[in-house]
């Protein structure tokens, strides 16, 4: 059965069933640095970040006929895939991208800047108290610079639900971080 959704709307959204492989490679190449940064902020080591990046690239390449050609839509689509790859990674699945460890050993992955961010254990504890989806929503806005609506769309949330969740999550963070005696 042919899906009218998957065919017609891809055309409407700028996607094409005949994406030029060279264009697709260029798109992926452009997205890779920021996706590596995305994973690097969320997984414990460079091997896991490389694994998640490799897995994301595989999914995007295989689904290239569904990737919108419009740059911003493609970026959002890529982050949606990345968010799910990250979730699978956090569920403890085995490493999927066979080359990850070898590549990390072969090439030098560095962290830009003098040091990592502050070790704010109270904030880490407060963030861990949030539901995973809410935490990721807050961090997509705070760390990746997405608007709330776009961050929610990446996570499969409606605009209304995104805003409600975002507000609730921030309110909870503020409560969790309040000093004893604060109201």
């Amino acid at each position: 059965m042919t899906s009218p959704v998957t065919d017609e709307s891809r055309r409407e959204s700028g996607a094409s069933s005949t994406v030029d492989p060279g264009d697709m490679k260029q798109l992926l190449r452009d997205l890779m640095p920021e996706l590596l940064r995305y994973f690097g902020r969320r997984v414990p080591n460079a091997e896991d970040a490389a694994d998640c990046l490799g897995e994301t690239m595989i999914v995007l390449w295989r689904r290239r006929e569904a990737v919108p050609l419009d740059r911003e839509s493609a970026r959002r689509y890529a982050y949606g895939v990345a968010a799910n790859v990250l979730r699978e990674s956090q569920r403890g699945r085995a490493r999927q991208f066979a080359l990850a460890e070898r590549l990390v050993a072969e090439y030098d992955l560095t962290r830009d800047g003098v040091a990592d961010g502050d070790t704010d254990s109270d904030l880490a504890r407060a963030l861990s108290a949030l539901r995973p989806l809410d935490r990721e929503l807050v961090l997509l806005v705070a760390w990746e610079g997405f608007g709330v609506g776009v961050a929610g769309a990446i996570l499969g949330l409606s605009d209304q639900a995104s805003r409600a969740r975002y507000s609730r999550a921030r309110a909870r963070l503020r409560r969790e971080l309040a000093s004893p005696g604060d109201d």
Partner: protein, 231 residues
Amino acid sequence: MLSEPELDDRLARAKRADLSAPEAFLDAILAEAAQERPSTRAPRKAVVIAIIGTLVVGGATLPAAAEEIQTFLAQADLGAQGGTEVIPYSEWVNLGAPDFPEYLRATLWTDATLPPGMSHDELVEKIIDRKPEGGGYMQEVVFRMQYEVIAHCGWMSEWRQAMLRGDGNAARIAATQLQAATTWRGLVSTDGGGIMEQYRGVADAAASGDARTVAASPRHRECQIMGVESR
């Protein structure tokens, strides 16, 4: 209480330093990822149009669970965390397509049966309503998973209510459905590990009449959060 700017500042300061890699590293990953591999895609199965409707069990009077379910359905957010799960063999659906609602109404199929008070049409409409405003793509299995998660909550609630009112027949029917849920393919195919064990734990406890274990299960808590399970 922390101010909003203070919270922004703490979040910004907690951001880890950016990970970066040489071009050669990125090229190696891209080259590997872009290799054409033999397709592992299974032939597309015929779409089964599941018109389940309302399953009425135990007479015309809806049990208390039905009221909870109706309350739940009235809420704006289903709470299911679907996203765009990357699952093999599941079609990607464009949420921004004008015919998306018609598509889902016509094609959403699932292994789940529904407890008293829960209707297929209502459930499908809620799943349609919660789609992201901005469009994007989602695999069709995610819709089935959302549907089956809620149906399972409904059956848990039905089982607990039947136990409370001493209705052994209704409890047995619910326990049978909870056992069947461990094979619902929307749930099974999106299980990244450990999820179906929770469902099997609930099914086993329900089959043995162990209300304490059912109430203590992570699934019960999830359903409470979603508002479908009795409190």
